[in-house]
């Protein structure tokens, strides 16, 4: 099955003359887009900050990898199980911690992410330890990753534009008022957290199939921070903004390869600049809409004419 997918991908890329380097960049982009969509739902729409989503990526990645390599499970099923396991663990963690007010949730997530990484290092027999877990077949072809990202965006979009998204947004805006109109804030926060973990697990499983080899350091605190900064840069409360953020954060380092040592430094500057000049992010609280863009182009000459007459 993997071969079939890869053959289609190769035929497609061969037809369009897309070289393997570009393919790799697109796969990475898709992985980031999926993980960041999850963050967007959690941080942008619910205003919960998690510094532990790299941990959920690790769970998705290792779960899929182990199922495929050791138990020869079909990669699609392995990916679904990986994402579901990440979601399940988030559900349990959320049940324990989301009733806490203030920053405790953030700290728990931070601790959780680090725990996952340390445990993966420690249980060598299970995960390969710090040497990593090798031998994963390459199933994250470009075409497949793009399909996953499109599906992830579609589902997140519909989720946000239904009562679920509305209820999450109301918690972000005013939790007391949300409760007063019958929204069980705890339940919806947990749902949001689970949603973001499923997406992180999904992204992790794709990542494993792309790298063909996973190490715990792939999913260190840095990765979690990268996910959060990307969401903030792209724009809180906007799915399209988050995709834009993911593109910037994935593609710019590829363009400026020579500056890769200063990556975290540049992230820091970018976040500070954005907080100063565009506190809602590049596309905060708005979705990109072609209609609005066209109207803007149409609208300008109109006002010009009116001014002239």
């Amino acid at each position: 099955m993997i071969e079939a997918f890869n053959n289609i991908n190769n035929a497609f890329c061969g037809f369009l003359h897309i070289n393997p380097y570009i393919q790799g960049v697109v796969v990475l982009l898709c992985i980031n887009v999926i993980a960041i969509l999850g963050m967007a739902v959690l941080t942008g729409f619910t205003r919960l900050f998690s510094f532990g989503n790299a941990g959920f990526m690790a769970i998705g990645a290792y779960c899929a990898a182990i199922l495929i390599v050791r138990h020869s499970v079909n990669f699609l099923i392995a990916m679904v199980i990986g994402a579901a396991l990440a979601g399940f663990i988030a559900f349990l963690l959320g049940s324990l911690t989301l009733k806490l007010k203030g920053d405790y949730f953030l700290i728990t997530c931070l601790g959780f992410g680090e725990c996952v990484r340390v445990l993966l290092n420690y249980f060598k027999k299970f995960s390969g330890g710090s040497a990593g877990f090798p031998g994963i077949p390459n199933y994250s072809s470009m075409l497949f990753s793009v399909l996953c990202a499109v599906l992830a965006f579609f589902v997140a979009w519909r989720f946000i534009h239904s009562k679920y998204g509305r209820n999450l947004t109301s918690i972000r805006e005013n939790e007391v008022a949300a409760e007063a109109v019958g929204i069980n804030a705890f339940r919806y926060k947990r749902m949001s957290f689970t949603f973001s973990a499923v997406y992180a697990g999904w992204a992790g499983a794709l990542f494993a199939g792309y790298m063909m080899y996973v190490v715990p350091t792939n999913f260190a605190l840095n990765k979690s921070i990268e996910l959060i900064t990307t969401t903030v840069i792209g724009g809180l409360g906007s799915l399209t903004g988050s995709v834009l953020g993911a593109m910037l954060v994935t593609l710019l380092p590829e363009v400026f390869r020579s500056l890769s040592n200063y990556r975290m430094l540049i992230y820091g500057f970018a976040v500070v600049l954005i907080i100063m000049f565009r506190p809602n992010g590049l596309y905060g609280y708005k979705e990109f809409s072609l209609k609005r863009l066209i109207n803007r182009f149409k609208g300008k000459p109109k006002t010009g004419k009116e001014a002239a007459s």
Partner: protein
């Protein structure tokens, strides 16, 4: 000929049935009115050594407007917070339409049919006026996650209904032209109205208004009195309100309870309460 007789017989049968329905409706209304919408029995709440509410009891009948008055710190908002589940009372019972809601969570209380507004307005500030009302219609959104993702017929139907209902509510409070504006861009009086419209989207049986006339001048509070009356007439709803403006209370309330330092000073119609010497002493000016 026989047709005519048949028709008249059918007509009389219909009127007879209609009469019976009317009679049953009256009986039902009578039965309902016997049970109070809200009953609080000996509710107490302490914060450390402070008795925020001391042995508070109240009975609010169907369709009444009941006022809670008293100086600052008398425990009025604490009573609201006890009803809506923000605090659990230390002792006593709160019964809403026959159901014990003592210590229920705020969301549960709202789902049961108690809508509220806040002393310092709490809207979903960065959302549109329409969205503010739509969010409160959550109980009408009976679709599940897959139905939302695949946009099933049920999803479309429910969303359409919710939208129409929200627009309808905005029309009733006179905000239909501002549906797409941001809630925090509205002037103060409109924000108050929007908060009431949002509470009404719950289809509540009881509406709690926390100082609806706060920060309003005499004209504006007069307008508010009319507005609350309209709402009551339109929805046949029971209202419990906290209010400082004595003219608003005398104009609107059927009954009121006067509190001072958590203790109930007097209960009665606004006129009775106003002439109560204890109330005059504590509330309308103790030094005179």
């Amino acid at each position: 000929m026989t047709d005519g007789i048949k028709a008249s017989a059918a007509d009389s049968r219909v009127t007879e049935l209609e009469d019976r329905v009317l009679l049953l409706e009256h009986k039902l209304a009578a039965l309902e009115s016997k049970d109070p919408v809200l009953e609080m029995q000996h509710v107490e709440k302490h914060f450390g050594g402070v008795h925020a509410i001391d042995n508070f009891s109240v009975r609010i009948e169907q369709g009444q407007i009941h006022g809670l008055i008293g100086p600052n710190g008398a425990g009025k908002t604490t009573i609201f917070n006890n009803i809506t589940g923000i605090y659990a009372p230390d002792s006593g019972k709160i019964i809403f339409r026959g159901e014990d809601i003592t210590g229920s969570s705020p969301s549960r209380v709202a789902q049961l049919g108690i809508g509220r507004t806040f002393q310092n307005i709490r809207l979903f500030a960065n959302l549109s006026v329409l969205e503010n009302v739509i969010i409160a219609s959550g109980k009408d959104a009976t679709y599940n996650l897959p139905q939302a993702i695949f946009h099933s017929d049920k999803y479309k139907k429910r969303e359409k209904q919710i939208n129409e209902k929200a627009m309808n509510l905005l029309e009733i409070v006179g905000l239909q032209d501002k549906a797409n504006e941001l809630a925090n861009s509205l002037p103060y009086g409109h924000q108050r109205k929007l908060e009431i419209a949002r509470a009404m989207a719950l289809d509540p049986k009881l509406l709690l208004l926390d100082e609806p006339a706060a920060g309003m001048n005499a004209d504006e509070s007069l307008e508010l009195v009319e507005f609350v009356r309209e709402i009551r007439g339109h929805f046949k709803i029971t209202i419990l309100m906290i209010e400082h403006h004595m003219d608003v209370v005398s104009n609107l309330c059927d009954y009121c309870t006067v509190l001072n330092f958590g203790k109930t000073l007097a209960v009665g119609t606004p006129a009775e309460v106003k002439s109560n010497p204890d109330v005059i002493k504590a509330y309308l000016g103790g030094n005179e």
